[in-house]
Amino acid sequence: MTGKGRSKPDPIRVVEPAEPSSIAPLRQRAGSFAAECGAHDDLIADVKLAVSEAATNVVKYAYDAADEGVVELSATVKDRWLLVRVGDEGRKWFDGPSTGLGLGVTIIARLCESVKIVQEGKGTKVLMRFELPAT
């Protein structure tokens, strides 16, 4: 830390079971990371909401009920960008029953500067990019 520029916390990676009760701790962790990066209240709220929507899609669509799947959150800062990733190792979301899937994805797209949904190899990864305030 040089004392110049924005605060740059170490990247985080959190893995939780793909269950409804995991969604709150994941969005809290993402929100506190955003706060450590200097995000203001509205941006913190946006990050929490986007992570909640992505994690909800994992819990609802990535695994069959009998599966014991995981949802993974990782976040890092690069220049003025807060990069947040929510991923799973289940089936591709759009392959399963998808009632309500579109709404969550639409909201994520509204909240962040850019979003990429990657389905290569196993599972689905949602890559979200938020713009941090200028320092």
Binding site: P20, A45, T56, K60, G100, G104, I107
Partner: protein, 105 residues
């Protein structure tokens, strides 16, 4: 009138509780959801609310959201739910609107 107060965070983990609370209110013409202590809501929560609003309207009943805090209000605005006939500043204003419209909806 039936009032449901949501405290804390409404997401997938608690959506079923809201659905059950709305089911218990089935006999009431007006149902208020007090959001003043609600700290978080996402599309899972608002989907339950919108589904209930539409179903109740068909039955000549009314669902109103009351006193959302600023971040909740911001989200409702983003998804187009900050509408005069759905969101109210207080239980009193919601009830005044419901009484004005009577059972004629």
């Amino acid at each position: 009138m039936w009032e449901i107060k949501i405290e804390g965070e409404l997401d997938l983990a608690f959506a079923d509780q809201l659905t059950a609370a709305l089911d218990r209110a089935a006999g009431s013409r007006v149902v208020l959801i007090d959001l003043s202590e609600c700290e978080f809501i996402d599309s899972t929560g608002t989907s339950v609310i919108v589904r209930a609003y539409v179903a109740m309207k068909k039955e000549g009943r009314r669902l109103a959201l009351v006193a959302p805090a600023s971040q909740i209000r911001r989200y409702l605005e983003m998804i187009g739910l900050m509408q005069d006939n759905l969101v109210f500043e207080s239980a009193e204003t919601a009830m005044t609107a419901a009484d004005r419209d009577g059972g004629s909806e």
